[in-house]
């Protein structure tokens, strides 16, 4: 299983638009993708679980992917987070 560690820099944290964009991006891939924050883990394709993580600005998350396209999934999600969600409000 591959994993990456990222820091959420967006003003609103992993809420609202950033959360929606991340879930949408995750759904593009076959792999099982999870996001861990503290001791909680969410299915990255579930908006309800991702919101329920309560990730605020400055928090670290660990994204794990398992499946045939896990490498592509992780690099796409990394790009999304590091571009600060393409600058959405």
């Amino acid at each position: 299983m591959d994993e990456i560690r990222l820091t959420i820099q967006h003003n609103v944290g992993l809420h609202a638009r950033p959360a929606a964009l991340l879930v949408k991006a995750a759904k593009q891939f076959q792999s099982d993708i999870t996001i861990a924050h503290g001791d909680r883990t969410a299915n990255a394709k579930s908006i309800l679980q991702v919101l329920g993580l309560g990730v605020n600005r400055g928090a670290q998350i660990v994204i794990r992917a398992e499946g045939s396209d896990s490498g592509a999934a992780l690099s796409s999600l990394r790009e999304l987070v590091e571009s600060n969600f393409g600058g959405v409000e």
């Binding site: 809420h15 609202a16 929606a20 879930v23 908006i47 679980q49 919101l51 329920g52 309560g54």
Partner: protein, 577 residues
Amino acid sequence: MKTLHGIAASRGIAIGPVFQFHRVELNVERQTVTEPAAEWARFRAALKEASAQLEGIYQKAKAESGGDQAAIFEAHLMMLDDPELLDGVQRAIEQNSINAEAALNEVAGSFAASLESLDDEYLRARAADVRDVSARVLRILLGVAESPTEGLVEPSIIVATDLTPSDTVLLDKKYVLGFCTAQGGATSHSAILARGLGLPAVVGAGSEVAALPDDTVAVLDGTCGDVLIQPDRKTRARYAERQSLAATLLAEARSKAHEPAVTQDGQRVEVVANIGNVAGAQAALAEGAEGVGLLRTEFLYLERSNLPDEEEQYAAYQAIASAFGKLPVVLRTLDVGGDKELPYLNYGTAPEANPFLGMRAIRLCLAHSDLFKPQIRAALRAGVGTNLKMMFPMVATVSEVRAARAVVEECCAELKTEGASFAPDIEIGIMVEIPSAAVMADQLAKEVDFFSIGTNDLSQYTMAADRTNAQIAPLASGFQPAVLRLIQRVIEAAHYEGKWVGLCGELAGEPLAIPILLGLGLDEFSMNPPAIPIAKQIIRSVRLDAAQDAARTALQCESDGEIQRMVRERFPAACIG
């Protein structure tokens, strides 16, 4: 007549009959099913129907009120398609052999409950979205029609315990004068949607409103947060007058946005914008800004992994300043620290126990010339051929101003040696936002070319009250007599030295504050661009001597409320909306 007090959630006045918005109660019974597979198929069909409904509402919201509101329904569509929600429902149906209604109710309910348990207002509000989405599917499963608006046939004030996003979109807007809810806060959906639609709203008005019979006549004052039940004829006429005055004012304000703001007796003041990036410059010009009173430079520093170099800064400042031609643009040097941290700055400092009273803004810049000098050099260069000015944030002492000016001189000397083109005579000012600076304004005025009062910080430092803490936010109001007295002192001290004073906190664009600030002699009002046309129009409606008289009275008032009441009585135009 009876007056109820709630939270002013969206400006404006509505007068008319009350319409109670009753959502149909959904009774979900848990039943055992013999064919779980058929039950799951029934659920899938309901989902499909719900998704088609939401798609329609989404398109309607997008057309009516734009992106922000529509985004709510986009989020609803995502929830409807949430794999964890669907798996949960499928498991409940197949493993427990229960009906789809009960399965959905239980699974969605537990998601909502877990969001409600989080320590975050935004996420708690999302719990309402989950319940809203699940209620939509339940209505389809139960065959209950979605028509709580039956009987709404004339323009009315819509009253409800609380409104969900789909409720507010379902309403036929030609019959909606405004919204009033028993529960909810200023950031609730009803409030946000009302502001998006430009309709007045009062939220959190208490359970009494939900008990009002339909057709009770009421006045809804979304500017002050009052709901007047069965107002007498005189009161009603007074509000009707305010309503028509506001409509006139708004129309005039829009048509005269690009004209100067001159009082009735000929005093002109500058109305300028607070902006935070290059795009903001265009928005400000479109609203009629006569320059920039606060150019926040953090945009160049935040959300990246290294410091912006001098060239990058120069290009940005030059682009913004030249967009305004000869109009003034006041650049505020870097204001980080406190709540705004730059993760890539590695000065080896320990975490601060109280960052708002810590190593931030000018304090940080004076300690680190590698941070400060490239910005000063970029600003000096961008001053060539433009009307760029520079100011330092969070100044507490005279020695800080002198130290900062010494850095400017050092940069000038370097640029001169390098043969670079720069503006040696750039105007230099400070933000007055720490009470010590306000108290020492007479001495500070000798050291600078201008002051800009930052009332957001000045209020919270003076009152020792965090304005983001809802319980004590009213204490941090710029209308507090203590804050106004400091403002008066600052303006007087600057004028004594022949220097000008601007104000770039939220107070500058607050209609009720404008007459007082005018009366105190403020030279420049700097605000978010959308507030500019109205602010100019209020200034045009005021006589300077009346404003001076009101300012004198305000300084003798005991409370913020007393001051606001006094302004409302004396300056009807400032009660806009």
